[in-house]
């Protein structure tokens, strides 16, 4: 009986991992901001908050990254598709200028891809 239980729990955990990380709906803290506004993104505990940002396309925007995580992992933020990057100062705001770009999804992440977020231009 215990063996069956352990196996069931194990298989359920495997399914949970697959569902939670790949198949299930993603719950992000999304923020939409008017183009003139400046949005602050907190860099802490392995996540960007918000990690899903909506901005109007075709305009420049400014994002304020406030890094509170001292680990080197969080030191840089990269927007590879926009060719934008910034070194984030610790416990300070760092401005990141987002250039005009086509509508679409632009992932951003730390150098090690542990911190990850998405910028949606629409």
């Amino acid at each position: 009986m215990a063996e069956v239980l352990v196996n069931i729990v194990g298989v359920l955990m495997i399914l949970a991992v697959i569902w939670w990380f790949w198949l299930g709906p993603k719950r992000s803290t999304s923020k939409a901001t008017p183009s003139t506004d400046n949005l602050q993104i907190l860099v802490k505990d392995g996540v960007y908050e918000p990690d899903l940002i909506r901005l109007p396309a075709g305009r420049t925007a400014t994002l304020h990254f406030h890094r509170e995580d001292p680990s080197p992992c969080s030191e840089w933020v990269l927007f590879p598709d926009l060719e934008v990057s910034a070194q984030l100062a610790l416990n300070q705001d760092t401005l990141v200028e987002i250039p005009k770009a086509e509508p679409g999804e632009y992932p951003f992440n730390c150098q090690m891809q542990m911190y990850r977020g998405t910028l949606i231009l629409e």
Partner: protein, 747 residues
Amino acid sequence: MTKEQQSAPTVFRLSGVNCAGCINKIETAVKTVAGVTDARVNLSDKTLSVYGSAEAESCIEAVRSAGYGAELLRSSEREQRAEQREQTQRHYRQQLWRSAFALGVGVPMMAWGLITDRVSVNTPVEQLAWGVMGLITLAVLVFCGGNFFSGAWKALRHHNATMDTLVALGTGTAWLFSMIVVLVPHLLPEAARHVYFEASAMIIGLISLGQALEIRARGRTSAAVEKLLELQDTSARVLRDGREVDLPIEQVQQGDQLRVRPGEKIPVDGTVLEGRSLVDESMLTGEPVPVKKAEGDSLAAGTLNKNGSLLFRADKVGSDTRLAQIIEMVKNAQSSRVPIARLADKISGIFVPVVMIIALVAALVWFNLGPDPRVAHMLVVLTSVLIIACPCALGLATPMSVMVGVGKGAEYGVLVRNGKALQQSCTLDVLVVDKTGTLTEGSPRLTDIDSDGDSDELLRLVASLEQGSEHPLAEAIVTAAHDKNLELQSPANFEAITAHGVSGDIGGSRVLLGNTKLMQKEAISLDAWSERAAKLAEAGRTVMYAAVDGKLRGIIAVADPIRADAQAAIERLSKLGLRIEMLTGDNHGSAEAVARQLGIDRVHAELLPEDKEGIVAELQKKGERVGMVGDGINDAPALARADVGFAIGAGTDVAIESADVTLMRSSLHGVANAVELSRATLHNIKQNLFGAFIYNTLGIPIAAGVLYPITGMLLSPIVAGGAMALSSLTVVSNANRLRFFKPSEAR
């Protein structure tokens, strides 16, 4: 390509601020000031950051009107970085303490287990004793490893998984299982009543130690930018109201007149107004020989004034100086991705969940098929797999090498725009080189003067005559005379004869300088000089005949001389496996002559700018990977078209903006340095990626127990923790080896 953005707010220190209400009041007040685009209060450090072009005084006034105090906080980037370094140091010390505390708990427990082999719970006394140890271990997990657990939880809520997830799951599982053993040992078979508290503590301790060492090693990767920042001076001696006053560098404005004394650094970019000196520009260009500076010459921030006092005008200040732009460019490139890392990036994205699944599958296999004690084996395998897998090594493999490699390039005057350019520089087949200003000096110089009498006297006469001419060749002759300190006279009856030459009277003598046509027109015989002239022309020189009072006195040859180091650089590039082709707008004769001297096989001469781009495109169509080296505005299209464009730093901003690699030195050796550096960096990246892949592909199966049939043992979670800590440290340390790179030229 990456455009790094730096925050450049005006920062004020606030007083009287203590709640969220204050923040709103201050921000609202400051945002009304003209020129303010944004204002943000940071309550934790009581500072106000104002963005935009507003006057500092107006902002201070606005804060005062809101009922608070504010003063300008002066903090240069160097100071900010020093602050960041201090923060990093604090984090390093914190990690060391965490490690020491965790290992202080874990090591004695492990020693107890090894010496006594009593790490099972079979009696109430053992239950109590291990219960206490469990609580102590819990304190370790909370105080030393709390960041792993909070990070893992937060990431999990965002459907994200990081290294924290693996550490938290591994140590948490080991602790939880051990606590179950302590609380309800009778529910488990006797062989499975082993506790693993020491594993939890040791893993936290070892990983914290690894992170601390990694922080220290990573600090060295940005040494290049630190060095460049060191070049920036913090103050400048400015002329204000007729007096020289020392001011913070931030207060220097464009147009200010500055004084720089011997031994001082040039604080901003500018133009010499008064004085003569030698300036050491090696820190920016890599050129070891100090450059003479006099009135009208330009100065660059960060260079060192050697022996004279100079008064100069500030042309570019702050972030507009060339040094600031170089720092910006280096920092951009350091954070850029390299195409070779795409696979690692993809794997990084799914790595942690995949490892979690592997750990669960392996645990179930051991539970169902493994030998007794199955529960204990299952737990060891689960913990070891979670702990040994290291996404950090994979994630750090590329950025660390790029950071060190790009920084190293800056030290040698090679500014790489991004990781892509760094990678593509490795695999070039052909290097297309613009002649003028790249292979040659870029400014005509007197190369030969043959006379049947006193050469200097002949030079004095023709230079005196040419003073009235604006032709570039005339400038070369006059400059040569000045260099020899010859006293020139003003010409009388000066006449420039189109397509022939010039004539005039110098000190009563009729002097002619021109080509064969002029001599024929004046019925002057060329005699034996024509043969010598032909030889010089073959060598790519522009030859002029000089006649005095109707008699041919000699010939003068002017050419854009080949750079002293061009030959050696071409040889280096050829050794690196690159085929060199020359592009030039000049005539075939002089182009072929230069090519012959340098051993360049293929020449494309008499080109228009668009032709240059066309030739690059043509080579690319043939499947060649093309590098293009140029300096002029007419090279920009070809530089942009090439797989890798190398802009000579002395060239135009347009060329530099079009290029993937900017060479601060006006030398082809810079290209060879760039190629050698890119190859060294790529080699280092490959080593790191290989190491990270091999580590994980070997480590995970070993932790899953594939060696058990051979060794009869499972990998201890403690060993797994140690291996994980070492893996990322190894990657960073290997990247740091690039700091010892030296181009073959410097060896």
